[in-house]
Symmetry: C2
DNA sequence: CTGTTAGCGCGTTCAG
DNA sequence: CTGAACGCGCTAACAG
């Protein structure tokens, strides 16, 4: 009767008002806090009261407003920072992350960190949303990023990158081991003059793989190896690098690529540009085990990263840190596994 | 002095307090609303005042709290609903969407709609975040979804799907035309008995492509065509469907797949399982023009979807609707374009 | 153009 | 276990 501010009730442009706790409380004949508690799993409330609230809420089609909720308590948002949208490797990973986050009644804020915006900036930005936690999938990890993460007291997990610094939580696979496995696979198959095609400069994954690879080659007495720059993790980069390698006088008889998508590009260069036979003339090996690796066209031997386990660990450790903010950072390294396919089966 | 609730100030677990407008206002010697306006691009505020606020804010390392902001005004969140995380087609698209959204000072809430959760539920969920807008990339579009979208008054754009219903905004490419182009490409190349390998049942894209394909074949007097179920949009589905086709007595001499990733699977089945030569024995054609299509291994002729333009249109129309909520829904259909590669070049 | 003030929708004290 | 009242950080309405 005496609501003086109701002048524009029937304007067509008016944003349809959402149902709020107050209305639900009125409808259910209870207090607002009862409604609040009913929708909060860890609050203590009697069974019948909760039921009553739920019934009224359902009747009014009430949905809690996560924005309002997020202002004081948890936002239910988990940030995911991604840098490499070119590599198909990341699509299934993204799928798993979002799915797991949703299972925990949270949602994913996906941040695309491209060249326009550096990672530092992205981290600060995502913090404006009061995210409960942050997952970073970045091959390179500048020190400033580590600092940025630590200065926030929001749990951060770095996915797929080895830790040189143990002040931040990291989940990765053992890339040095991957390199060593690669050396063994190629030498065991009878190749003598392998080359490593590196990935983006300064990314730990490629550095560690190279280190493991070379050191294992040396251990086994193989000295005729070479390393070439590859550039980015992409089909084209693998293709181009391969052509460059074979311009040299010292031609390798096997190629270990920093990742699968580069290896696929490399294989196409070998077959269709250089007219070399795989695996007879040249052996090819990658890392990741992306979906394409097991296609009949590529049939690529590779070192499989344990994605499922890595993702599971990431989620576990992240939510542990969310519910217990002063846990110390930890570093989890999972083993990888060789996958023998046609591209290295020289003798058969 | 007389703050009675400050008992646990030096607890290590205390969440580091964020700087707020009030503190910035005090530091700058202005009012809170001045601070608010300074951070709001469309607010009217004098140059020197804004500078002063910014300086104080920078000194305190103030960041606006988007959650608190979102409660009254825009949330700066745009929801992206994705269903198909298996198809590499969507990774670059996701990249563009997130990037474009960020350019507009918004961020992406990525929802993975898998079997655990139906689309309807996902829409309601995302609405709890008060998203400013919603992008849906879904091959199938149940009526209930359309209803859900309309009942909210949040702008929704459906990406990559034709509209049978014009009560919701849709951006897609002309899939019927794609089918017609496919028919012309295959007939022009000299193939006589083409087959269409369909995608997921009930998805408009595959239905429309099939319709255009068949009708154009008939127009040009070709009657020896067949249609086979493909299942999902995936490598394996394409592979398996291809093997099934060639078990029949009526063997086609060309295959038009509902999308590229199926076509890649199909090509591998043809070459490595059936020992058929592409394009001599069988012509192969896809739709999408994914990255893999132009690899040397596949070199797949295809009908290119104008992704750039589709994404641009999607963003434009979405943000138009965000700033002007009672615009009528519209339906945008963009033309596609044939891409001739090796898989259909029978004569040369 | 600027400051003051009153909410936004919800969680969380604090009494009962 | 329940309800009343306060405050979160910010924007919007109004007044100067």
């Amino acid at each position: 009767m005496d609501k003086p501010t109701q002048l524009t009730t029937n304007s067509p442009a008016v944003k349809k008002r959402r149902v709020t706790v107050v209305e639900v409380a009125e409808a259910a004949g209870v207090s607002v806090s009862a409604v609040s508690r009913a929708f909060n799993p860890e609050a203590s409330i009697s069974r019948p009261l909760r039921e009553k609230v739920f019934k009224a809420a359902a009747a009014l089609n009430y949905k809690p407003n996560r924005m309002a909720r997020g202002i004081k308590s948890r936002s239910s948002l988990v940030g995911i920072l991604m840098t490499d949208f070119n590599n198909p490797f990341y699509l299934p990973i993204l799928s798993r992350f979002t799915s797991e986050i949703q299972k925990r009644d949270c949602h994913s804020l996906l941040i695309n960190v491209n060249s326009d915006m550096d990672i530092q900036e992205a981290v600060e930005l995502v913090m404006e949303y009061n995210v409960d936690g942050l997952i970073i999938t970045s091959a390179s990890l500048p020190q400033q990023l580590v600092d940025a993460c630590r200065s926030q007291n929001t749990p951060v997990v770095i996915f797929g990158r080895d830790s040189s610094d143990n002040s931040v939580t990291v989940v990765s696979c053992d890339n040095v081991l991957a390199g060593r496995m690669a050396a063994d696979m190629l030498l065991d198959a009878g190749y003598m003059r392998p080359a490593f095609v590196a990935g983006p400069i300064g990314t730990s994954a490629t550095v560690d793989r190279q280190r493991g690879f070379i050191s294992r080659l040396m251990e086994r007495g193989c000295n005729q190896w070479q390393v070439v720059e590859g550039g980015e993790f992409s089909y084209d980069a693998g293709y181009d690098a391969t052509l460059r390698v074979f311009k040299n006088s010292e031609r390798p008889d096997a190629l270990f690529y920093a990742d699968d998508i580069m290896a696929c590009g490399g294989m196409d260069a070998l077959r269709y540009e250089l007219a070399l036979k795989i695996p007879q003339d040249v052996g090819v090996l990658g890392v990741d085990d992306i979906r394409l690796a097991k296609s009949r066209s590529y049939n690529l031997s590779t070192i499989r990263q344990p994605n499922e386990e890595m993702i599971q660990s990431t989620m576990d450790v992240l939510f542990e840190h969310i519910s217990n903010p002063n846990l110390p950072p930890q570093s989890i390294t999972l083993p990888c596994e060789p996958v023998l396919r046609g591209s290295t089966q020289k003798h058969r």
